[in-house]
Each structure stands twice: as C-alpha cells, then as structure tokens.
Amino acid sequence: MAVVVKIPTQLRGAAEGTAETEIDGATVQEVLDGLFARFGELRERISNEDGSLRRFVNVYLAGEDIRFLDGLATPVPDGVELTILPAVAGG
C-alpha cells in the first residue's frame, strides 16, 4: 500500500526539501514510521517520545483529521493522500 505524504514547508528543511513523497504502509502509524525511516530528523519534530503526535500537529487522511478516524491506527487505502499540517492556524 503506497500513499502520498505531503510535507509542510516548516518541515521540509528536515526532509531534504521534499514537498511530497510516496511511502508504503497499512496504517497511518506505519506510513509515519516509513517517513521517519527516510527522513530521521522528522520524528523528533512532530512526535513525542512515547510515539504520539505532538499537540500542534494535525494529520489528515484524504482531507479528514485522523482524530475523527482511528488516529494512528487508521488503515490507509492505496493511493490516498496523507497531509501533515501545523495546527496553529485560524481563529
């Protein structure tokens, strides 16, 4: 299962300038692990030590916030987009 991961500008410095990349994985967690395997520095930028996402990070699967789905355990259909965005916008 390959999904397209969209990396926000604020993280591209830690991802060799990459804006989007294809990663294999059956769940959001597996995709993120694959992303961290490719760009090691990203892990500490958006994850806490216990593996949970930092509180100002939003992750969307096909436009839906994963907290409305199954969180990191959400299954990812093939070819879908996973978008990482800062949570501090708006209001």
Binding site: R54, R67, A89
Partner: protein, 421 residues
C-alpha cells in the same frame, strides 16, 4: 518600537519578525516578544503618552508588533488612515446586573467597530504588519466576522484580498463581505476544512493570510481589548471577564494584555481577573476538555447557531484551558436556546443587540451567576464581540409584531393594553 522577535510558546526558540507562525523545531505556535525597557518606568508619563494618542487602537502602538509605529506618514491625524478600530464603549449594565443578582457588570461593546466586530482590531494590526513586510495581497480563513473585516481593510488600503468562508455561512455575513469587492471563496465544508485548505494554500502563495502566516501579529491585536477595558476602568482590572472562545486566541490575548500592563506598572492592584470562556454546546471542544480535566482538546464537528464560534479544532485550546484553570475561571457551554435567550437578555436590559456569539457570552454569564460562581461584590466585564444584525435568523419569530390599519380604532383593537384611559 518595543517589538523584539518571534518566540515559540512551547520550546522558546527565537525567530525574526517575518511572516512565520510555526516553530520549525517543535511545531509550536510563535508569539511576538517585546523589550519594553526603552519605555522607562515612569508610569504617569506612560499613561499620558497613551491618553495623548488617537481615539483608536493605535494609542497602544507601543505594545503592538509594528516596526514602524502607527500607520500613516506621521502624527495623530495620519493614524486615522485606513479603517481604525477600537475605542469602543464600555457600558455599565446595571439592569443586566440586577437581573442576574450581581452588583457590577460592564459590557464591552465591540460591535461598535468599523465592520461591527472585534476582528477589526486584529485585522488592523495584521494588515499593517503585512504592508510593512511588503505583501500586496491579504487573505483569511473566516467564520464570517473576519471575512467582513479583511474585505473592508483590503478596500480601505487598496490591497487585493481573498476571503475563504464555509459555504453555509449566514447570508448577512456573506453580503457584508462581498460588497467590498473582495474575491470571496465559499468552500463546501466546515470552518476547519476552510482552515486546512488555507493552511495548504498559504505555503505556496506570497499572500498574507492574516490568521495563518501573519497570526502572531494578528493575535496581538486582541490585547487592545484588554488595554481599553483597563484604561476605561481607570487603570484598574475587573475581577472577572467573560469572553467567547472559538480558537481561544481572543481569550488568551486579553489575559496577555492585562499581564503586560501589570508588569509595566500601568495597572493598580495585585489581583488578576478570573477568566471565563464561553462556548456553544454544539461546538464545545474547550469546554468539554475543561470539564474532563484534560490538557488538550479533542476536535469536534460543529453544529450550532453560533457559527462565528464554530471552530471544532481550536488552535489555542491548550492555552485557553491553562488560563481558565490558572485564574480560577472556567470554560462553559450553553445550548442554542440559551444562546437565543442570551441575545434577548442583553438586548432587553442594555439596548445592545449582539450576534449569536454575544448570546453565548451573555448566556454563560447567566449560567455562572445562577450557579453561584460569582461573588456579588465582583466587578464583571462581559466582552461582546459582534453585531446582532449579522445573525438575524437567531431572533426571527421570537417576538410579536402588532399589524394594524392606520386608524386609532384599529390600533386600540390590535393593541388592547395601550388603550387610552
């Protein structure tokens, strides 16, 4: 000017005063930091300097994040260019207080701004900073009031503007945006969808999204509400403030304004106001987290008549929770019926017609009073952020109109209680 740098609220990393809003190290929000040492410690002189300023938010320019001071070439008259916000009335509401069994309630009526909501404060600051940074286009993700304000400021200053709103917004707010000649984009989704879209668009365009890449500057504009309340109360703080909570930015920045002036010695006394946040039950992620004792908010899908507060994923939720707990306040939620009752209560006791968000705030004040949370000796400020004419559906059908023919007999038949004796 005293503005110094941007600083991450989480890890304290420092950044230059550019169009940045996220910490690259930890993804935390950036906030403006100041060095007020140049202002000196002569409190009387500082107060005179403020009082000698223009009758708008630029009288507080020393505490706002502009490199070049108030907008305009120079002087007091010039600072009235554009669409100056602020200096709205603080009204003593004795009839409202009596109805609630309280002694001293004040209403800060921020509907009395150029586009009839507090958003003119934050937009004035953001757009002025955007011009300093060289932007030609301004934009926003809005629940309605911000849309009005960004479109109007774009028109006033001759800047191109793009305004993104949820497609189901109140008609009055849509009309009061489009009239200014903005590029209005109605997104098929909730405000949180609009916000996500704009966050993505922001990364690829050289636009100043006032509440995204300009958000650190924008949010500082809300401090002027606190400054005005303190100045209007004679350089004193209230004992309690009731404030609507959508993203949590206004709520937390009002407290920041009080805190900054307390540190500078501009405010008398030692105590700090209890801060009470107000949400609608149909979109209460912060109130729910407060009640559950949690430090972060779980996002919700909003369903409430208070559309201007319908942010299901509040950016400043954790800070709003911390503030309410730290000051001995709370974050409470009220139902749509309570919101309608709140609008009516404020209108019928103060003569102020507020939109649904103000109904939320007034209803939460009622709830706090009924619950016995408020000591009768407290001085309470109710922050009313917007205008009732923008959400007319909320009051439609809530009162009786006497329809009569133009004769005395018809009038007396139609309105029997008014018959002359």
């Amino acid at each position: 000017m005293a503005v110094s740098h941007l600083e991450c609220k989480e890890c304290k990393a420092q950044y230059p005063l550019e169009a940045l809003y996220v910490c690259e190290r930890c993804f935390g929000p950036l906030e403006v930091a100041y060095d007020h040492s140049r202002l000196g410690r002569d409190v009387a002189e500082l107060r005179r300097r403020i009082q000698g300023g223009p009758q708008n938010i630029w009288r507080y320019a020393d505490f706002l994040p502009l490199a070049g001071g108030p907008p305009g070439p120079s002087g007091r008259l010039a600072s009235r260019v554009g669409l100056p916000a602020g200096c709205t009335p603080l009204i003593r509401a004795d009839r409202l207080a009596a109805r609630l069994g309280l002694r001293e309630v004040w209403v800060k009526n921020d509907a009395a701004n150029p586009t009839h909501s507090f958003k003119d404060r934050v937009v004035s600051v953001a757009v002025t900073r955007a011009r300093e940074l060289g932007f030609q286009t301004i934009a926003c993700a809005s629940t309605g009031n911000l849309a009005n304000s960004v479109a109007a400021h774009g028109a006033a200053l001759g800047l191109e503007s793009y305004v993104f709103i949820p497609a189901d917004l109140e008609e009055q707010k849509v009309l009061a945006t489009g009239v200014y000649g903005t590029k209005l984009v109605a997104v098929n989704g909730s405000y949180d969808d609009v916000n996500r879209l704009c966050t993505e668009l922001c990364a690829e365009r050289d636009w100043a999204f006032v509440n995204i890449n300009l958000r650190p500057y924008y949010a500082e504009g809300s401090k002027t509400l606190a400054f005005e309340i303190a100045e209007q109360l004679g350089w004193e703080l209230p004992d309690r403030c009731v404030v609507p909570v959508a993203s949590g930015s206004l709520f937390t920045k009002i407290a920041k304004g009080f805190q900054e002036w307390r540190e500078l010695g501009l405010i008398e006394g030692e105590s700090f106001p209890r801060m009470n946040g107000a949400q609608a039950e149909g979109c209460a992620p912060v109130a729910s987290a407060f009640a559950a004792g949690q430090e972060v908010c779980r996002p919700v899908k909003p369903s409430t008549i208070a559309k201007s507060l319908a942010i299901g994923n509040p950016a400043d939720g954790p800070y709003a929770l911390d503030l309410a707990r730290r000051t001995g306040g709370s974050v409470d939620a009220v139902s749509d019926d309570e919101i309608r009752a709140g609008i009516a209560l404020l209108a019928q006791t103060t003569g102020i017609f507020t939109e649904t968000a103000g109904g939320v705030t007034t209803a939460v004040l009622s709830k706090l009073a009924a619950r016995g949370d408020i000591d009768p000796d407290e001085r309470v400020v109710l922050v009313i952020t917007g205008e009732g004419l923008k959400t007319l559906d909320a009051v439609r059908g809530t009162f009786e109109t006497h329809a009569v023919e133009p004769t005395v007999e018809a009038f007396e038949a139609g309105v029997p209680e008014a018959v002359a004796v």
